[in-house]
């Protein structure tokens, strides 16, 4: 699957890593849903780092659309709440 970290790059993540990725994402989502900011930034940073470490960067001249788009690394708690649960990164 191809994952984009907004403001950074697209990464190609092997299917074998998918389970771990979804686990980490679920963790972030759970924190957001709890409404308490504690632990959010660490959990989100871990998710992004996982993608950067395990994923293979998509070449700049390779045109691919992503299966998953993650908010930028400096996303605030409030922004992330609306990104993950509300209108999404790009409002319609």
């Amino acid at each position: 699957m191809i994952i984009r970290i907004s403001g950074e790059d697209q990464y190609r993540l092997d299917d074998s890593e998918r389970e771990r990725f979804e686990q980490l994402e679920k963790g972030v989502r759970a924190i957001l849903e709890s409404g308490a900011e504690d632990g959010f930034h660490d959990a989100y940073a871990e998710l992004l780092q996982f993608v950067r470490d395990k994923g293979e960067r998509v070449a700049e001249d390779d045109i691919e659309s992503s299966d998953e788009i993650l908010p930028p690394a400096d996303v605030t708690f409030a922004e992330a709440t609306s990104d993950f649960t509300g209108e999404g990164l790009i409002p319609e």
Partner: protein
């Protein structure tokens, strides 16, 4: 997986297909979307230029505040040496406000610098994708049947569209930040325009409105500390009976010459 991903790609796909629907012939579609991409790239460049302009403005404000800090410091010393503690305090209060603003500006300039770097990087990536699209479109034109070409165009355009949307998002974040900074910078400009950081020796004897506001703004302990330091440095300045600065216009030259 719900949420973010689905929505973002749906929006992009909708935009791309709207774009592609405008032309009947696949090769026309290709040229049209390429042309649109190049236009968007120009907008990105313009956006980056705006960030640079905002940064330069803040930097100019920074240097003028720096001058004010030096000037007010000098005036505080002169006032203290002349035994006019009230005037020295007024100068230090203003210096304190100017310094606080200066620190704020410094943080903002650094932030804008980072935004600019990110945007430049995104612009570079978008340019690479558009260039790849240009190559690809010639291949599609030459090699595929109309129906197949339609599908490939859509795929390629969506891919570039996503990069474009991402740059757009980064740009929006930069613009929002710049807007916040502008509001703050304008507030500083107003203080400057009101003469807050100008020559304190021009102050009358009574407290004016600015003074009262400044007292609220400046952190009193810091000013007290500065004042104590100045006193210690200059020895007990109060021994000199003539408050030279407050009394006449003669010593104003020191302050005014710099501005």
């Amino acid at each position: 997986m719900a949420g973010l991903t689905g929505r973002m790609s749906t929006v992009i796909k909708a935009k791309v297909s709207k774009l592609l629907d405008r032309a009947e012939d696949p090769s026309e579609t290709l040229d049209y979307s390429y042309q649109k991409q190049v236009e968007q790239l120009q907008n990105v460049k313009k956006g980056i230029a705006d960030v640079v302009t905002a940064k330069k403005r803040l930097q100019m404000q920074e240097s003028s505040l720096q001058q004010s800090v030096v000037k007010l410091d000098t005036q505080a010393r002169q006032a203290m040496a002349g035994g006019n503690e009230d005037l020295a305090r007024a100068a230090l209060e203003r210096k304190n406000v100017a310094q606080t603003e200066l620190q704020g500006l410094d943080t903002q300039v650094t932030e804008l610098e980072q935004q600019q770097e990110k945007l430049t990087d995104s612009e570079k990536k978008l340019r690479a994708k558009i260039e790849a699209f240009r190559t690809k479109k010639e291949v599609i034109k030459a090699q595929y049947s109309a129906a197949e070409a339609q599908v490939r165009i859509s795929e390629a355009a969506t891919g570039v569209g996503e990069q474009m949307a991402d740059v757009g998002l980064a740009m929006q974040r930069a613009v929002d930040k710049t807007e916040n900074m502008r509001a703050r910078a304008d507030a500083v400009s107003e203080l400057e325009a009101a003469g807050t950081f100008d020559d304190v020796t021009q102050l009358g004897s009574g407290e004016d409105d600015i003074d009262r506001q400044l007292k609220q703004l400046s952190s009193q302990p810091a000013v007290d500390e500065d004042l104590a330091k100045l006193k210690a440095e200059l020895g007990s300045g109060g021994a000199q009976p003539t408050p030279q600065i407050a009394s006449g216009g003669g010593d104003q030259a020191a302050g005014q010459g710099e501005s």
